[in-house]
Structure formats: structure tokens, C-alpha cells
Amino acid sequence: MALLDVNGLKIYFHTRDGVVKAVDDVSFSVDSGETLAIVGESGSGKSVTCYSLLDLLPKPPAKIEGGTALFDGEDLLSCSLERMQHFRGNDIAIIFQDPMTSLNPFISIGEQLIEPLIYHPDKARRLSREDASKRAVELLDEVGIVDAPARFNCYAHEFSGGMRQRVMIAMALINEPRLLICDEPTTALDVTIQAQILELIKQLQQKRDMAVIFISHDLGVVAGIADNVIVMCEGTVREAADTESVFYRTSDSYTKRLLAAIPEGAKTMANRAEEGQPLIEVSHLKTYFNDYSSPAARAEKRQVKAVDDVSLSIQRGEILGLVGESGSGKSTVGRSIMQLVPITSGSVSFNGTPISGLSSSQLVPWRQRMQMIFQDPYASLNPRMTVYQTLVEPLLYHGLANSNNIEQQVQQLMDDVGLARASMRKYPHEFSGGQRQRIAIGRAIATKPELIIADEPVSALDVTIQAQVLDLILDLVERHNLTMMFISHDLSVVRYISDRVLVMQRGSLIEEGKTETLWANPKEPYTKNLLSAIPLADPKSERERLSS
């Protein structure tokens, strides 16, 4: 009998709009030392399944309609609250996606770590403060926090994202759980950090012979660490098998679609870059921000050099990829070109004419010729404007339409980005993430711009949707003869879409090259590191990489 045996689990959400079957007859089991990956897109019920094991669901609206979850022979779904509190943290621990919001910002890391030890519900197992602290420092050391005794008294904001996730892992392991649930633990992290965290989880598991449930939307991430995979879609299990069967011999149509949606390999479209005058020329761009992160920094008028001496050019018709990890300044380069942030020095020229330093009214005609697509399709649309109003705004503002043909123009735009004309009067919240991004793309191409700067346009989307939106972008680039700067942290996506790639680190450009040349032969160690950290949807090569 396995450590955890879930059988016929059914969880329904009773909402005003009817019953949503979030989880519908799901069964799986995990044993000690085993890793089970639950893969699915948003809304597939993968997180709901795991939260129900620890009774973390909001009830109502959620209601467990059936099934059992036997942990060591005891049903987690029907046990008392006291019993559940005993399981939580002790036998079953959970790591969440966002390490920033899951740590209390007002209590030091150490204090949070020892809390479960000194307030243990089982009085016999309570430790004194000294013993608990010693134990916590050991564990911090084990998860790879350098100089653990000194960091013990630090607060969450003093750690980077990856370090915070390590602290979260330490916190989950403090009572030596037998089952560890990881809910997208690396989604918010950079690709190199992600590789380190995956490796850490694998090591810790082997050492402790824990069972691990790893929830992810990314097949590439689970390829290297999972023994078994279940693929979920709309609350049901589409496929459950060992990792190699799922990746190499799947017969399920949905799994096939998931695998096919992973952007892989080189760009298939021909390079359309034209010779001659570059459309955009950036020379010695510096964009500094005042550092208000601490009172000392404010007093000394310290500055954050977000972009430090960057020169680049974009040819007409070219798709330029800009990659880098978070904090590398890649978004700031895009915003500086768009004149959305004041630049400190240097110049930006559009088609040979300098546009940096123009006043906002002088910029209006240029704004029509360059547009931006933003990362978060939930934040980039005004929630109180209908699709129609959103798309009409640029057209009317730039005088590109009059009251006679505006209707038709908006319909044309909606056709262009693949939205149903009938949904014109709907508000953004009535659309899915992918459709919202289509609206945002429609707004960007409304003014018939020459240049589009896309800042992580697909990072917030599910993998199958991501593939559709990428194809839409490529299609629009070709049809409207656009020039594009594509900013992303996801190297596979950049490879799939760009003709040429620039790599940024700490505000500077460190490497540049034609996409395929750069992939085949990266020169800088940083680029090599980035490229080798990309998780591949191939269990064999992934395992080799993680164990090496």
C-alpha cells in the first residue's frame, strides 16, 4: 500500500452560476521516495486536488462530493480538524508558488522557521528555543543558504526570489514531513534559479526518502524529476503513467497537444530584415532610477542603474529578441525606447530622427508608429472599458477613423487578432487570459504601427495558449510588415520567434548574435549558463543534466 492513496476524488464548486466540477473522479497514489508530477493548464484542477488533501480549500464554495485520500491508511478528507492540524506541517508539507507572499514580511526568517518546533501541537515533541534555532540553522545550511547563522535573523525582503524559495523549502522540511507538495515552486523564478531549486528538491527527497507531489503547468520542468506523471484537464485525469511513457509513447490527444505546444527549435519563418537605415537606433542609452529601497539609499541619493550604456539597432522587418533574467533591465530598455520612462543619457532614433527628449505632445505622431504589448493581460486592459472602447480609443485619438467607418475598422481589428465580432461589447473580465492578450495585441496594431515592442507577451499564458498567441504574433508581423522587439526571459520562446538575439545582464548587453548561431555557439559563460538551464521536455536528457 502506498503512502498516499487518492481514490475517486470529486470536488465541486457551488457558485451562483451553477456547479463547477473542479475535480471529477481523480485517483492516484504516491509512495515514499517517489515523485508524482501533476501537470495541467490553469483551471485543470491540479492545485485544488492537492489543497483538498490539507483541507486548505475555501468551503463553501468548494465541497468534497466523494472519494477518499488515505494517508498511511487514514482518510484525510474525513478526519477531524485536530487530526488535520497534526498532519499539516508534520507529515505533509506544502510549498507555494510565490515565495514573496508566502513569507510573513514582519517576522524574521529564523523566527518563522522555529515556530512549528516550539509551538508543536504535540507537547512532547516541543523543542526549546535554543534547540529549535540550532535545528533551523542546520536546515538553512542544508537548503543552500550561505552563512546561515547570520541570515537567521534576516527578514524576507532581504532575500532574493530564489533564496526565499529555499527558505520556504527549509520551512516545509522543518518537521521532516513524509509527503511534500510543491505547487509550481519554480514558476516565479528565473531559469537558472529554477534549475538549482529543482536539483535541491531532488537531492532533499533522495536523502529523506520523502514522497513528493510536484504540481506544474510546464512539462519541461517535470521531465527531469518525476517518476510518474498525471495529466489533468478540466478536472479529470487524461493520462496517468510513468514519465517516459507520457513523454515518449503517449496516446492521449490532450497530452500530445501539450507536448506539441512547447516551443521548440528554430524559427520557421524567413528572416525579413531589410538592409539600410535601421528603424530604431539606440546609442549609449542609460536609464537610472532613484533608489528608494532604504532610508540610507534615499538619503545618499543612490541610483539603480537599470540600463547602463546600451547601444543597439533594429532593422526594418526584423524580429529582435532581448533576453535576460529578472532585474537585468530588459523591460526598461523597451520602455526607454517607447519613451515611457525618462532616460538619463544617450539617444533613441526612430528611422533616423532622434525622439528621445521630445515633449509628450511632440511625441504624439511618433506614438502612432510604435506600440507596446504588455506582459499581464489582466492588468493591461482597463477593466471598465469594453473591447469596443479599448480598440476605438487609439483609432479616434490618432484620427484614423471617423464615425462612419469606425465600426468596420474595429471589426477588422477583431478579425485580425482572432476574436469573435459578437464579443465587442464585453468587458475584459469576461475573456480568458489568451483572449485578453489578443485584445491587447489588437490595441497595439490599431494605429498601424511600424514597430511593436512586446514585453513578455506570452509569459502569463498557458502553454497551449502561448503557442497560439506566438503564431498570431508571427502572422501579424508578416501581414502588416511589422518590426518587433521581443523581450522575454523564456529562451525557448525567443528562439522560436526571433531573427537575432541580444543577451542582457545587470543593465548591460553582453552578447549578441543571429539566433541559431548564438544557440549553437554561445561565447559568454553567462549565456552558456542560461542556455543550459532551459528545461527540456525530454526525461532522459533532463535526468542526465540534473544528476551531473
Partner: protein
Amino acid sequence: MDRLQAMEEKGSSLWRDAWIKLSKNYLALFGLGVIALLCIVSLLTPWIAPYGYEEQNLMLGATAPSLEHWLGTDIFGRDMLTRIMYGGRVSLMVGFIATAVALVIGVLWGAIAGFVGGRVDAVMMRIVDIMYALPFMIFIVLLMVVFGRNILLLFLAIGAVEWLTMARIVRSQVMSLRKQEFVEAAYSLGLSQWTIIRRHIIPNTLGPVIVYTTLTIPSVMLLEAFLSFLGLGIQPPESSWGLLINYGVETMEEYPWLLIFPGVTLSLTLFALNFLGDGLRDALDPRTSKD
């Protein structure tokens, strides 16, 4: 037919959709109806009131409701219905005008401070802090002493005090909104700052603003009563709901109807305002369900 549909498409906007949604919310419609009725009655009072507001009948004294005096009379024999109707003119006017003053100044002040940020924000908010620190009674007493007692001045004075909180609420909303990507998108479309504030920022602050407004109107009405009680606002024989309640409290044990009827009228107004406010807030938020 096609033309009609096209016109409809064009008319579709937040306010239009809000009205459609509001017209399905019976509680909010009830609130709107009550307030409309009160306003109409107040406007027509001089013509429809059964008695004059200062018509005394000392022989009669305080009497319980009867056929001649539906809501009874007060200790001077004045008809309560008449006095409540006249009082409503003052109370509603104070409530709406002072709140409108607070609303306009507060929303603009807060929106500009929050949107522009930096030094402008610091200076504007310090002014708000200084105004907060002034004991507002002294402020109003000074205004009254300098400019003489004037009912319009009273409205302005109350409004000038009430906008402070509104400005703070709006500013905090705007500060979180201006970092949002849709505002940045509006910038990159080349929209001017004022257009962005008007089209993208202010509509998104409406929820809390409406709720706070419906809370301000009753508090302004009670403030007027307090000032009148101190001799700074309305003076007898004129009346307002607040004053009537104040006098009603004094004689509560002997003549309860002097307290009950003005009290019920004020409560009814507050309920109506709250229903309408909640309805408006939901109607103006497209994210609440359409039914």
C-alpha cells in the same frame, strides 16, 4: 436594423451598461425612488405644505397625530408634517450641496496628487494634513464670524471640511492604478495626462468614492444639526431634520412623536441612500455579474 445595431454598439459604455444593471436592481431603484420623492416634495413644499412653518397655536400645544395634524404638533402648536417638509429642504440641500463640494474637490485633488506624485503630491497632501489638524469647529466659527451667518456659506464650510478624507481615499486608489499596465498602455498610445486621468483613472476609483459619498451625506446632515444646535446654522423658527431631532430628544418622554417622525424620515433617507450607493457601486463595476 443593421444601422440600429450599430448605434447601440456605439452607445455602449460604462454608464449605459451601469444604468441597465441598475434598472434590474430593485433595492437600488427603491432607494432612487425614495430620494426622488423627497426631493420633489421639498421643492414643492411652499405650495403643498398644509400650514405655514411658523404658524403657531399656543392654545393647542403639543398634540398627538390627528386628522388635522397628521404627524401631530410640537409644544408651540406648529404642525410637524409642515416642519418636517420645510426641514427637509434645508437638510437635503446641505446634504447634497456640501457633499457635491466635497466630492468635486476631493476627487480632483486626490486624483491629481496621486497621479502626478513626487513633490506635487507631497505639497498637496501636506495641505490636507494641515487642514485635518485645524479644529474644524473653530474653522467654521471663524468663517461665520468673518462672513456673517449665511446658509450658503454653511454648505461651503462643511464641504470644505469633508473633502479631506475623500482626497485621501482617491489618492491611494490612484497611486495603485497609475502603476498598472493599462495606464502605461494609454501613455504609449500618446494620450494626454488629463485624458488618462479622466478616461482611465477616475472611472476605476468610483467604487470606494460612491460608498464614501453615501456615507458623507448623512454625516453632513447631522453636522448641520450640531452646528445649528450651537447657534451657527439654521435658527428657529426655520427647521431642519437635525434640529427637529435635537428638540425631539429633549421632550422624548412626554411627546415621543416629536422625535419619532423626524427620526424615521432621516433613517428612511439614509437607507435609501445606502441602497442606491451599493447599487451604483455594483452597477459601475463590470466585474459583478450581470443579473
